[in-house]
Amino acid sequence: MSVPLLAVDGLCTHFFTKAGVVKAVDGVSFTVARGEVLGLVGESGSGKSMTGYSIMGLVDPPGRIVSGVVELNGRDLSALSAEDMRQLRGNRIAMIFQDPMMTLNPVLRIDVQMVETIRAHQRVGRAAALERSRAALVQVGIPSPDERLQAYPHQFSGGMRQRVAIAIALLNNPDLIIADEPTTALDVTIQGQILFEMQKLTRETGAAMIWITHDLSVVAGLADRVCVMYAGRIVEEGTTFDVLTHPWHPYTQGLLDSVPARGARGTRLSQIPGMTPSVQDLPPGCAFRERCGYATDECTVNPAMRDRGVDGRGVRCFHPLRAGTAA
């Protein structure tokens, strides 16, 4: 197998606060192939967004990448200088954020915010950059792009602003786009439009994508592969089909059962008991064991990722729900 586009190995991003060390990302490993859509799924505080920031090199103090390797095209990003890393950001890897109302600078016109993105990485004239920007707006389906280039962000609706952000991400033809819940703040019908555009764009440009979300239904329709995160660790990974139809980890199973589905209207959902743990003072061992029906004494030791073989399927559990044992 050739070198994957992105390889993350043993990534640990910790926050050093007054109250103690918060292990936001705690030993995360995965790979993304060229043109692949990877869904990174988890609930709030699971470290999924911080994984994205870590890859981008955008972790702010008191946070720090403590250990681990991030390789893009076989090139170790941690060895890069700050300037080389800046050259990479917005160029080879682009990122889109959750809240479209906040990601564009309110006092700068759209053309300024687009042109500067191109000129930060390429030696091109203003006119050429403007032409490229215009094309990107057309690409993401924004009507009357010439007029829109002259506008300020507040003149756009939420969905339109997210399209502009996507257009900006596409400007330098990145190899990888990290999308951090870009449709969560949007209405269902607008979310559908954005998903449609993203699907089309990745297909057209061949860019790979990491789609970070808490919403399993988005991943179900969009991603090729899924990584499920819990308390800073990946607990299960595999193809979307495998993970969603035959989950191995009890947490994934619980998550799937928590989603109201067809039928059984008005009856109780099967739920995961207890609360999402705080990653601040996590006890050693499997972070899920206090909410898990299968937990044994063995689980006080942190399980390693197992079975990372066929189709990259793996689970971090001593009692995986293999075929037959699933409830």
Partner: protein, 326 residues
Amino acid sequence: MLVFIIRRSLQSVVVLFAMSLLVFVGVYAIGNPIDILINPQADQIDRERAIAALGLDKPLWSQYLTFLTGALSGNLGRSFVHSTPALGLILERMPATMELALTAMLFAIVLGIPLGLWAGLKPNGIAGRMIMTGSILGFSLPTFWVGLMLIMVFSVELGWLPSNGRGPTVLLFGLVPVSFLSVEGWRHLLMPATNLALFNVALLIRLTRSGAHEALLQDYVKFARAKGLTNARIIGVHVLRNILIPVVTVIGLQFGALIAFAIVTESVFAWPGMGKLLIDSIGVLDRPVIVAYLLVIVTIFIVINLIVDVLYSALDPRVRLTELKG
């Protein structure tokens, strides 16, 4: 835009009217206007004549109308002490105050914004912490006392700078006397301007710092970093453009405050401006001058507020659009 201008003008008219009413009530109604408006040294016949001439035997509302028409035509009475029109006296002193206030504002901008930006970008560095502690000190130092201490050190002990007056002035454009065009003038200007600027340096440091601090936490800065922009561009364009809005607004409003606070500095350094004149006039109960000062300064404030509003809407596209439409 039309509605915007109408709204501002209406507000200005209301403020002017309210202030004129306040000044009138204060000077004419509460005190005894005869004592206030007529020179105490005048004899009985002069008094009678003056009462009739000023219409003080008429009902209050008619007195107010007389006062208002007088004010509108620029007639604010004559100074008892100087025996010249009060308004002329004020206008004569205005350049000195304006020069002082403008120089102080310049000092404040040149020092305050860079220091504040530094403290905002590196809040946990030693320099950042020192700037912030220093700004609390600048905030806390009583202006008049700092003035005294400056005189004590630089005039009395070291003998470097003169302690009072404006020094020789040069006519700017052939009509406005200013100090800043000569070295001797600068020696006179330096201490009062520093003194007056102190508070505003601290204010601008704090404002710029909190603005920069705030902006750095915003998603648009994170997005700008994700786009791979250089730090220089992120700070110089994305952050600065956003904090410029409150900073420009405050600079405008503070300019008015500087003119008012010049009263104190002018008193300490015997700077011959409007403020010194006001204090002297209060001391000798030269009421027409007080009234003239108040109305002049209210007008200055209204003009400043108007300029600030226009600047604000020019800087913030969100305001610009809604205001222009609405």
